[in-house]
Symmetry: C2
Subunit: 225 residues, 2 copies
């Protein structure tokens, strides 16, 4: 019965270290030391490092998925017969992730960065985790975006949603403030400002005309339907 406590401490330490230092460069030893538990206990509870990763994702993704769907439902209900709004859909998708950082209940602060780290995993592992833990929610959000942007091909929306995830992951990868461009030291902003910044970007991107090629003379300005 004390095993439940051990299990949870392993999950939380794993989440933090996977997020901060990357998954493959975090050893089971480092992780169990940080958790203050024995190395063998981790294998007893989870079986393998890969299974532990999956358990960490499940541990956090389940409540986040519920919050995301609730936020999307709230927007749908609020709009009634009016068309859905792209930026609100993205906000519904991102706020639950951000809120975990802001409120940080028992250390969920590393969740967005953990998802960013997942992208570096081998495709089989990445696909399995996505399919198990975020596939259904992602599909619902893509459908909402397709409804909000009826003039664009549905397939295009789905593709662009993946590109939007790329921007979002970059923002939370911990590398987005890198100071490598001569003359452009990045200014640090709050997480809420980051959120609105990336929402503006991905909303503009997903709403863009179907091709970037434009007739000569046309301005590169408007992009909302």
């Amino acid at each position: 019965m004390a095993g439940e406590e051990t299990r949870k401490r392993i999950l939380i330490a794993a989440e933090q270290l996977f997020a901060e230092r990357g998954i493959s460069s975090t050893s089971m030893r480092a992780l169990t030391n940080a958790a203050g538990v024995n190395l063998a206990a981790a294998h007893y509870h989870f079986g393998s490092k890969e299974a532990l990763l999956d358990a960490v994702i499940e541990f956090r993704a389940t409540p986040m998925n519920l919050a995301r769907i609730a936020a999307l439902d709230a927007h749908v209900a609020e709009r009634g017969d009016e068309p859905l709004q792209v930026d609100c859909i993205f906000r519904a998708f991102l706020m639950p992730a951000i809120r975990s950082v802001i409120e940080s209940p028992e250390g969920a602060a590393h969740l967005p960065r953990l998802f960013a780290r997942l992208e570096a995993q081998p495709p089989e592992i990445l696909e399995a985790i996505y399919r198990r833990h975020i596939g259904d929610v992602t599909r619902r959000f893509i459908e909402a975006l397709q409804e909000a942007l009826p003039d664009l091909p549905k397939e295009l929306i789905a593709e662009r949603f993946r590109l939007a995830m790329g921007s979002i992951f970059t923002l939370f990868s911990g590398n987005s403030e890198l100071d490598f461009i001569p003359g452009h030291s990045p200014h640090v902003v709050s997480i809420e400002e980051k959120l609105e910044s990336v929402i503006a970007f991905v909303s503009g991107g997903i709403s863009a005309p179907a091709s970037a090629r434009r007739a000569p003379g046309q301005r590169v300005e408007e992009n909302s339907p």
Copy 2:
């Protein structure tokens, strides 16, 4: 003198394996075996795995940088006094990378994916590589985008360029065709179509209004649970 040949074979094998399987999960052994050279030779020529990575980037980035600047200069010259066009700036940035895939001179086909893999490196290494090999070129492209979008704050353009890089990396990470969303099997498209698709997305994103929050009247509720 034969050392030069060995050196080059190591560079090319490293580029391919780093790109395909990731950097930290590619061992020096796997890499030297693929190159058909001795493990010790790699350490003789490069000193360490980290230094080898830097050499691989330099090997490819140098000609790509020249091509990128040339393409940007060509667009600037072509426009004369007319304002620069966002999509053309991104095309100048991306075409040289894509062309390496299409033409594949001596196996440069893995370059875009290699850059995507770099994102998973620890921040210090990533920052050092970016600063050394792509900082100056990136700065020039950001300045061109700032010129093309005079109504947006310069700082915002620089931030959004980083988000655009996130989308681009995702497209080339090898994970962008993952089939994890129920009912949305991604259709495979040519590299040129991918290019135009991502150009449309990032052009729309970087040109978006400064905030996603809309003017009063189109009021937007925050989704509190």
